[in-house]
Symmetry: none
Subunit: 402 residues, 2 copies
Amino acid sequence: MHPMINGATLSATDICLVCGSLAKGLHFQVNSCRACAAFYRRSVKSKLVYRCQRGTGRCDLSIRIKGKPMCRYCRMKKCADIGMRIDADMGHESTSSPPESETVADEVPEEYVLKGGVVQVEGKRIIYDVKPLIHLIKEAVIKNNVQPIKGLSGVTLSPLQRMVHEVSKFIAQRTPKACDVQVVSEMRAESCIHFQEQYLLKLAHLVTSCEYFVRLEDDQKFPLFRHFWGSFQQIERAYQTLTAFGYETNDFRMIIGDKQAIDMDNTKFILGEADSDEIKKLFTPLRHRVFGCLMNPLRSLKPSIFEIAYMAINFLWTCFELNNIKLSTTVIAEEVLERSANELHNYYVYEMKLPNYAARHAVLMRLISVIESIIRSKKDVMILMRLFNILEDDFFDSELVD
Amino acid sequence: MHPMINGATLSATDICLVCGSLAKGLHFQVNSCRACAAFYRRSVKSKLVYRCQRGTGRCDLSIRIKGKPMCRYCRMKKCADIGMRIDADMGHESTSSPPESETVADEVPEEYVLKGGVVQVEGKRIIYDVKPLIHLIKEAVIKNNVQPIKGLSGVTLSPLQRMVHEVSKFIAQRTPKACDVQVVSEMRAESCIHFQEQYLLKLAHLVTSCEYFVRLEDDQKFPLFRHFWGSFQQIERAYQTLTAFGYETNDFRMIIGDKQAIDMDNTKFILGEADSDEIKKLFTPLRHRVFGCLMNPLRSLKPSIFEIAYMAINFLWTCFELNNIKLSTTVIAEEVLERSANELHNYYVYEMKLPNYAARHAVLMRLISVIESIIRSKKDVMILMRLFNILEDDFFDSELVD
DNA sequence: GTCGGTCAGAGTTCAGT
DNA sequence: ACTGAACTCTGACCGAC
Ligand SMILES: [Zn+2]
Ligand SMILES: [Zn+2]
Ligand SMILES: [Zn+2]
Ligand SMILES: [Zn+2]
């Protein structure tokens, strides 16, 4: 089981399988640097147990910040994973699983069936009738999909706890395995739209699993959802992309479905006569904002699922600037936001052991603001496109966008 | 030259090259005691800048009066001089010359004199040449108006401390006494524009009183200021209005100058032929957002000057989405924002005794986002006005807006 | 060549002022 | 809010085998 990198020149014996730095021979039967070996030895000897500060259990150990040591939990886990054994006769296999909340996979409909939803590429325009989808969403959004948590019947989750649970499920369900993801060279409009349909319907399922959302008056639900989905998708896609391709990469790849990724530099969009390059050009400034103001900050923030869920709560409930929102709704929204912020406080202080979380919280709130601004711009670009008759994408030019 | 302490000969490796006390090996590649090493580490990590109390920069660090700490400037300078380097690649520090304790008490000019700035109302349009103003601002913005704080020489204020100081001054200077304020029934374009000219120039003075802003490259200053002024004015006016009219009221009054207020429902704008009502109508949705999403939340928040200053810091330094901003600027911006958030933490925890401040902080950040969105809309409405030829206000249609 | 022991020198914490 | 003593943690080095 000797991994080979590039076969010849860079011998596998040269890099530390834990941290990626220069290794010097075998340590505890594994290629590793002396530092990692020493770390492993100390940890085992003193029976030290670590906890991942980020709570994800998948820190990237190859990123080293000057003064800071690498995440101990993840380093130890890596040591164990690659087969370091301090004592050959120790029979114990597969010692520790990360102290994460295991993602329970309750039943969520696997694929929604859409009656309409035929995509036609006609001339420069994509003709797609969104009405059936909108109808479906409007119906889906007023359902009640609240499910009790196993082993916790009788207990009502707080809005944020519930969101953490649902977002974990949502993300786990569609987390691509890094090796599975293929960077495609062509992307057809049909695939995009089909992906999007399913995405929106599953998002509707997500929000209707949240008690506070379900309790709203029915006519308030669709406007909230309309405001919610774009922002949520932006952060969720970004999170998945960084998870799949690692936090250290710095390119323009973006995961689209659960198995496909596009590379903004190389993927060609197949959209009938509409010029793929022309479209790309219109989106260039936006793309740079996405990478400069969203992906890069995310890369250094490395948000946990908890924080993603907190952002989701904010996207869903920051409805004060929307039209046709009733006072009763804003009162509930204020309550949800305040409770969630208080829980975030507890999360930071007690779980992340980060009593001075103001800076991190500020970055989070700033990201929320950036994402909402990106969504606005996305809409603007779409309008521009229609104006120039390059492309008509009814998705962004329908009741689905506020 | 062997230093003698208590008559015993000490090897050169035993004394701290900074303070002369007993050293304990190398620290940051220099013989020093742990205390000096810790001091150096803290200072570098927090990027603290000191000032010599005596102004000589030649304090004798070996003379210790118990209880009194040694001169921080000279201690830091010694650390640097003897070659302490926390990180090999940490190069330029430049602050090696003692900042002469100048007591530049150049007062804030009471009123700026503008050569141009003639307002003509010509038909429906307001003809106003902004160029002289822009020129003046561009000059003002690259000046250095940093003033030492009385009685606190030797310490450099943090960006937020400085901002608190400057914002307090700014607000106090133009706080209207509640009884003095008159709700005017007419508002002439000339008065508005004159008020605005003075306001912008004083704001330029404010930002150039902040060390971190002054340290920027000159070509970065105007773009930052351009992004800053609108948002700052929005929050400052709102704050003044609430202070003057009280937090209980719930009307549409808004303080304009330092003695005048307009009542959106009753004040008539005198703008030549341009229909006052027509203009008001265009602004109606915006006005409702200002009152619903800004004034009302502010009313319940009752922000302190410290929090207003924190918002100001955010407006000034959240420049990541701007064009033509250099990487070096964003690096500084990130540092300022992070430091300020950390200080806000301390303020909440130690001064306001509010350890669980997440909710309040979230409201603050959300207000920041609302204000930036209001400013964008303001610009949009102005563009709309020009489109319909109702009013041409070069203020919002010039280099002054990004 | 791999192991454990050792320790200088980093970072971190916290009581004292 | 700073200071500095006491603490933990890291990784380079060295001798043992
Ligand atoms: Zn390693
Ligand atoms: Zn980790
Ligand atoms: Zn010393
Ligand atoms: Zn001195």
